[in-house]
């Protein structure tokens, strides 16, 4: 500490002597130096990782610049969008929407029993472990991989897409719900059990009402995600607007692709708005029942 601060303490009756202050100051300096060192190490590791990954991913300023130079004319070819194609695209758009919607509802319905079986305060430990492993598997399996395998079973069409999306919805929702169930206060369950209710009645009247808002809120979030994922799955065989986009791009019909993009953009935009709106209403203590 500088001399000015020592002066300050001399004017007043001394509360703390300077030795103690110096010691405290050194301690502070040491902790700051430690923090700085840690930050430097983290920064160094980050820079190294970025360099390494950039090299692996062939990041190249040259190709980026040529990409931009090539990109603008290409994007220019997208306009004007082919408005006349809109009428034909509404059906595929509907397929994507319904696929996402049905997958969300199916996922919500199935994730409830999975979540109950995966929570420590409801299910026996063995069942819980098995269910948690199943959920982890679901979460680790990207929907596109599931889709590729399901196409081999169901053939092309919306059905494999629907199944793939609902499976991965179960993975996400069941994990979030199981965590929500495990957070329920045990006293509340005890209070319902204290009236002589069976375990299934406790689940029906104490657990389910408590997690229903979380189920709906996360389900809406998942719907938004499913719309986005449904477009991608469409391109590899689930049909819908993604397929239209893919074929239009492959046949270099850029104006048609632009129309499909605009429609998808609108769909995603509004699904986000609607799910945001409903979510705030549910979480604001609205009546979810």
């Amino acid at each position: 500490m500088g001399s000015s601060s020592k002066e300050f303490f001399r004017q007043e009756p001394p509360i703390l002597d300077s030795k103690f202050l110096d010691w405290k100051f050194l301690e502070w300096k040491k902790s700051i130096a430690g923090q700085r060192g840690k930050q430097a190490v983290i920064a160094l590791v980050l820079v190294l990782l970025v360099a390494l990954t950039a090299w692996r991913c062939n990041v190249d300023v040259q190709s980026f610049i040529t990409g931009i130079n090539k990109g603008f004319p290409l994007v220019g070819m997208f306009f004007p969008p082919e408005w006349s194609g809109m009428a034909d695209m509404l059906q595929p758009l509907g397929v994507t929407t319904v696929m996402a919607m049905a997958a969300t509802i199916l996922g919500m319905c199935l994730s409830l029993p999975c979540a109950l079986a995966a929570s420590s305060n409801i299910a026996p430990p063995v069942v819980r472990q098995v269910m948690r492993a199943f959920i982890a598997l679901e979460r680790g399996l990207p929907e596109i991989v599931q889709m590729l395998l399901l196409i081999a079973i169901f053939g092309l069409g919306a059905v494999p897409g629907l199944v793939a999306l609902s499976f991965s919805s179960i993975g996400m929702l069941a994990k979030l719900l199981a965590d929500a169930i495990e957070e329920i206060e045990p006293q509340m369950l005890e209070a319902v059990a204290g009236t002589g209710a069976t375990r299934s009645q406790v689940i029906r009247y104490a657990v389910i009402p408590q997690i229903l808002p979380a189920l709906f809120a996360n389900g809406l979030f998942r719907f938004e995600f499913n719309v986005r994922a449904g477009v991608i799955l469409g391109a590899i065989g689930a049909g819908g607007i993604g397929y239209v986009m893919m074929t239009a791009m492959n046949s270099m019909d850029y104006q048609k692709a632009c129309m499909a993009t605009l429609l998808t953009l609108t769909l995603v935009f509004f699904s986000e708005r609607i799910s945001d709106f409903c979510r705030t209403r549910i979480l604001d203590g609205g009546t979810p029942r």
């Binding site: 103690f20 206060e185 006293q187 509340m188 005890e190 209070a191 319902v192 059990a193 204290g194 009236t195 002589g196 209710a197 069976t198 299934s200 009645q201 029906r204 009247y205 104490a206 009402p209 408590q210 229903l212 808002p213 203590g285 009546t287 979810p288």
Partner: protein
Amino acid sequence: MLHVSNIVVQLPNGKRLVDQVNFTVGRGEFVGILGSSGAGKSMTLRCIVGLTRPNEGEISITGCNGKTYRTTNVKAQELRRARRHIGFIFQGSNLVKRLTVLENVMLGRLGHISPVRSWLLGFKDAEAREAMVALDRVKMAHCAARMAGSLSGGEMQRVAIARAIHQRPLIYLADEPISSVDPRNADAIMSILQPLSHETPVIGAFHQPAAVAKYCTRAIGIRTGKIVYDGPAQIAPRQLEYIYGESDGDSASLVWESDAQPPLFNSGVEAVLHEGVTV
């Protein structure tokens, strides 16, 4: 009639939380259990309803038709049957916050409903009307359609009492029903519980000797798991001191001895504090 005979709750390390507790509660009684925190009041009540299994002893409840229900040494199904007849009011009320108040009251009858019906159909209108009557008794009928989570602490406690009333039990147990509410609500709750005791015995654990003296017909004092007082609700100050362990060999020092920690207030602590300031 509630018979509690010789119940013992023991921790794995041999420490007894409830030690040989014996009492009988009959018609028309409003029993207040007093004792300092951790003396074993709540544990005794939890044993009666079977949420904690005592290591020894027996608890039985006899209805007016002579039928006897046990909550000790019984199978899960029999325990559930016994619990239907015990109205338990928890300290924090423990309502299901995302259900309406009326539904929370109706939960009291879950023990009488088959699980299949509760999953498929839910409650009946007649049950809802009965629940309204119970709600009216605690003066909460105007809140019936509200979410339980939006109520205040005192209101929740009243709804919890309504849930117990709707159970039509043979005995009410109240675990510190007024410890987490303000004095006015506490008064209201006590004056709800008192008339209940004319029909059905009420046992409550309390921290307020004044409230016990005002409303109860009988008091039981528990100290470190043992009953040290059983008699009229108006307790002499000397006896009260003994229950709360302020006279000879106070309970606080007992606790410190067992945990090998120094007592909180002695001159040594002050000296240390003083040194810390003047370094």
